[in-house]
Symmetry: C2
């Protein structure tokens, strides 16, 4: 198992009695996910992604990635939410935050993410950075009509057509609905190669589908390894339905126990900046799955030790509203030794010649002990390494735990009814034609 | 005034009666800050930073910045917490997240931040990125003994000495205590140019001191403008002690009113990725100042519209534990127009030819209306632009409001007693010599 839940820093926070109280509901939630007879069960396709349900398409993803790697210096990925976070999380997890600086060395294109906001600066700066480079596009949108990626696609498609003329079509790859939608139609007309956003997989659960796999493969990451990690995680976490023997259930159970005792905020902490985007992916997964009906744990994240010097004070001694889930990475991607310094001007010679990762892990243990002393429960997730295999493993762990946790909480973990409100308001304010928008517009005008 | 508090999206959340109840305590808190007779009043030096208390040193900062700009391709800034966040916030606010990619064009060196974590990857990747480049160092540490920057200084100093020999000393700039501490001693011995971390300014309030100003000036940002913004903010926000006439008091008052009504989390939202590091700086400022004695509002941040597709669901409809403070940026740094598309394959021609920033601001209004409808109060901070002047203005606004808010909450906003716990544990576990650490070590061993 490349991911384990440690309860070492939960003593006094979660009792045997409390485990017992949720034992049955955890087992039942897992059974519901496996049987597929719960709320939102038309969105359970993520369970089968580790089987690579469409082998022909999977092979096409790999060959498209090779083609893209061969024909461009930069790949522009257009997507938002689940069509953005998973791929970027995987790329930073495996390759680090400086992946673009090392792209050439890795034999892969630089990767730029756009269509993830409405900032004119994002667009302008990215266009500037593309100057003089050979470029490919991967636009990812189920419907093709989501505002942010649609606007970006207009701009970058125009740019590509100005640069490459009709040949632009060979450089544009579209991940969208398999049959419906104007983007699919338009792609067919233009001759773009297309990949499928599965019908039964929600955006936040889609990283192991073509949505995530194409950009991840383009970055030079071994997607076979990643899928293999997810498959092993599924085997491991669906074999037993007792939280005492299944770490995935245990994580879901602990979260629900702590939530019931007033912990309304979960802070996901890691000690590596390369995991920051994984935390962002995790925030969508849990926040969107559980935050409904006035319920749910608010997901926040920190990168230690950096944020011990910013949020450490609050976590240690502020309003006791939170608990921490800490990723303890066992094997670092790099090795650095603390140098000996004859002057010892910082008084640190007592750690000279130590491995920096050991110092980092000591900081983790020291912090866990201090924070638990400050009455903050710490769940620890031990993860072996930053390999593609371990990323895939962690992805499936988090997804399954999220589904289980949502059912335990009594919500449908697969819908997101609350995200439509601002969209409808926005279309109304932007003057979108249609009776529905006229009505909203009238209401908003009254309010203003 | 380049920053204004709008109450447009607070209707129904904060009543006239509630304002009245805190009116006096807000005025009193401001008076305490101005008179300097409250808790932690040996750390009020930040109030005078807009006066540039040491003109000679300020001139030296400017000439050192010019020297650094002339002699290197990359400046490595070593610091953590307040010795890191302010400078990086300013640089990204004014220059964007891609500042290094545009450094040459801006006539400034690239800037790399290290000593802000214990990750071996941060060190290894930065060293790799420096290959073949001319480099200068700015190490920022009051005592010189903080673990993260001290380790980084050992590594990068060694690297500099290997590259430049004795000439390395001309390229190393040290911001530290004015007289005490081994780093000051060591710098004198080596002949490094030094700048002062003032005694009466805490790290999180130090961005307008040499701590922040040297790296900010090196990035090519006009620090005169930044200081001038801060000075104007001080004038504006200390003139009147009524929250009805002073937006700084108003922000502090609203936060405390909402906190008293059960809102334990404040989400700072902006619609520009270039403000993400400003949000990180803000988190330290508020979290460390207020999170003590089991009190305080947990500071979180989001970047919209990106995070509307991740945390939007939770904010709209999850556990009602939070409120939002939204930065409404009036003038963007770049201009982009939504292109017309003959195919209209995304159905967005109704916004063709619109300014993208107007679409972004429409998303803000639509979201504020949707979230308030979902029972989430929205404080809006209108800020004119991403100029250095407006950054300085906002810095002073947030600092003063934080001091006032902390006093209203009944805490000392200038200490951070809770950050020592993990440090002591860490030194003990790392085998630091000394009776104090032997004792802690024994205790921790028992616990484990």
């Amino acid at each position: 198992m490349s991911l384990r839940v440690s309860e070492q820093y939960l003593q006094g926070f979660v009792t045997a009695e409390e485990y017992k109280q949720v034992e049955e509901s955890a087992a039942k939630a897992l059974a519901t996910v496996i049987k597929g007879d719960g709320a939102g069960n038309d969105f359970l396709g993520w369970r089968y992604l580790p089987d690579v349900p469409d082998k022909e398409e999977y092979a096409r993803i790999k060959s498209a990635a090779e083609k893209i790697k061969g024909m461009c210096d930069a790949l522009v990925v257009i997507g938002i939410g689940g069509s953005y976070l998973g791929a970027r999380a995987a790329i930073e997890y495996c390759l680090g935050t400086n992946y673009n600086a090392f792209a050439k060395k890795n034999g892969a294109p630089e990767i730029y993410f756009v269509g993830k906001d409405l900032s004119a600066s994002t667009i302008t700066e990215t266009l500037e950075l593309l100057k003089g480079k050979e470029v490919c596009l991967n636009v990812i949108s189920k419907s093709g009509t989501t505002t942010e990626p649609a606007i970006a696609f207009r701009i970058f498609r125009e740019w590509m057509e100005n640069k490459y003329g009709e040949k632009a079509a060979e450089r544009i790859f579209v991940t969208t609905d398999k049959a419906r939608g104007k983007l699919k139609e338009f792609s067919t007309e233009k001759g773009y190669e297309t990949f499928v956003v599965p019908d039964d997989v929600g955006g936040r659960f889609s990283v192991l589908s073509p949505v995530g796999l194409l950009p991840i493969a383009c970055a030079g990451i071994d997607i076979d390894e990643m899928i293999s990690g997810a498959l092993d995680a599924r085997t491991a976490y669906t074999a037993k339905d007792s939280l005492y023997e299944n770490d995935c259930l245990k994580y879901a159970a602990i979260r629900n126990i702590l939530y019931a005792k007033g912990r309304k905020v979960e802070v996901l902490a890691s000690y590596e900046p390369s995991l920051n985007m994984t935390a962002e992916w995790w925030k969508q997964l849990y926040g969107e799955s559980e935050g409904k009906g006035k319920k749910g744990i608010f997901p926040a994240s920190v990168c230690f030790t950096t944020d011990l010097h910013s949020l450490g004070q609050f976590i240690q001694d502020g309003t006791p509203v939170l608990f921490e889930t800490v990723i303890d990475l066992k094997t670092p991607a790099h090795k650095v030794t603390v140098p000996f310094d004859a002057s010892d001007c910082d008084g640190l010679n007592f750690i000279a010649n130590k491995d920096l990762h050991d110092v980092n892990r000591t900081a983790f243990m020291a912090t866990a002990m201090a924070h638990t002393e400050g009455d903050v429960p710490n769940i620890v997730l031990e993860i072996d390494s930053r390999s593609a295999y371990d990323f895939g493993y962690a992805v499936f762990f988090f997804e399954l735990a999220c589904a289980v946790s949502g059912y335990m909480l009594g919500v449908n973990p697969f819908d997101q009814p609350g995200v439509e409100g601002y969209k409808k308001n926005m279309f109304a304010l932007l003057g979108k034609p249609g009776a529905q928008f006229d009505e909203i517009r009238a209401k908003l005008a009254e309010k203003m």
